[in-house]
């Protein structure tokens, strides 16, 4: 086993296919040859995947089973800047903001492994700032829906009552994830900037934080498709 460990010289040496999968799982040794923090973050994200998927599945269920027409998201989330309302414009901007933040996060991970502390921390702060902007726009969207459109978890004037409950539950839970991510990123960025990881030279914490952030973006891709566009 020791010799097997030492001659893994690159990606080509990784176990492949079903036999590789079986070898890693059945050899009575460490299964995931990744830092434990990363494996744990992935497993947490897997459980989160199930939570969000079941939210979206129950949304599908109530939307399919209601007799009352579903409010048209394209109209409900339209916004006018003085002229004709532009369909879904705020949601589109929020989508682009989240993708931008995912890009800056990916760059932060990259600079982290290069050992460029200042750039890593700066990019993480930029990512957190985009995240905070996203949450701010979501707060605006909620306010518009609650105050101007009269949407409540138990009903709304535009159609099926389930629209409000699923909307507040799904986007609320996602917004909560974004808010936690902003705090998480800010904490890690501060630690990077302070040089906490200089001694070990190990910047995988940045990659792990990045996994969480990309997941938040990933969930939004599904919410955008199923709730806003469908």
């Amino acid at each position: 086993m020791a010799s097997e460990m030492t001659d893994t010289g690159g990606a080509a040496a990784l176990p492949q296919g079903l036999s590789g999968f079986a070898r890693d799982w059945t050899a009575d040794r460490q299964t995931f040859h990744v830092p434990w923090g990363k494996a744990m973050m992935w497993i947490f994200l897997l459980s989160d995947t199930f939570i969000f998927s079941l939210f979206l599945t129950s949304y599908m269920n109530v939307r399919m089973s209601t007799r009352v027409p579903w409010p048209n998201p394209s109209e409900v989330f339209a916004l006018s800047f003085g002229g004709d309302p532009i369909p879904l414009i705020l949601i589109a901007i929020m989508t682009f903001i989240l993708i931008t933040s995912s890009g800056t996060m990916a760059l932060a991970v990259n600079y982290g492994y290069r050992g460029d502390r200042a750039k890593t921390a700066a990019l993480m702060f930029v990512t957190a700032a985009f995240g905070a902007t996203f949450v701010g726009m979501q707060a605006f969207e909620w306010m518009k829906l609650i105050v101007d459109e009269g949407v409540r978890p138990w009903g709304n004037p535009m159609g099926a009552a389930q629209f409000g409950s699923t909307f507040f539950m799904i986007t609320g839970f996602h917004g909560f994830h974004v808010s936690c991510g902003v705090i998480y990123l800010a904490v890690i960025a501060l630690k990077v900037l302070r040089g906490d990881y200089e001694a070990s030279g190990n910047y995988e914490v940045v990659e792990i934080a990045g996994l969480y952030w990309h997941f938040v973006d990933l969930v939004w891709v599904f919410i955008f498709a199923f709730f806003y566009l469908w």
Binding site: G9, G10, A11, A13, L14, P15, Q16, G17, F21, D24, W25, T31, F32, V34, A39, W42, L45, L46, T49, F50, S53, L54, T57, S58, M60, N61, V62, M64, S65, R67, V68, P69, S74, P87, L88, T95, I99, S102, G103, M105, A106, L107, V109, N110, Y113, R114, D148, G150, P157, M158, E207, G210, L211, H214, L218, V221, A225, Y228, L229, W230
Partner: protein
Amino acid sequence: MATASEGHQQHPLAIYLWVWVLLFVLSAFSYMVDYIGLQGYLRWSLILIFMLAKAGFIIAVFMHMAWERIALIYAILGPPVLLLFAIGFFALEGDYTLLTRLDFFGETTFVPSHPGEAH
């Protein structure tokens, strides 16, 4: 290409920048589906295609799944397949609930107002 065997994921910047651009383009496309008002199966299939492409790129490149060990890939991407069953069962159940409601309560008498006409 950097080795993934120590669990460190370091790859050329160009890959990230390309995927970043691609995600922007795909998002713009999915927004256009709504903006130009496509309907029916064309709308739904385009939404799904753009969604899956975006999700794939985020997972594969930004989350480095493409360079991970096969044991981790299977352990993370395998279980969500079960969700397809949940989606199928909930869809069947939703359909049944709708038919039951129509049977017992008949067509709706709800008259929707348009957004902004609430008060």
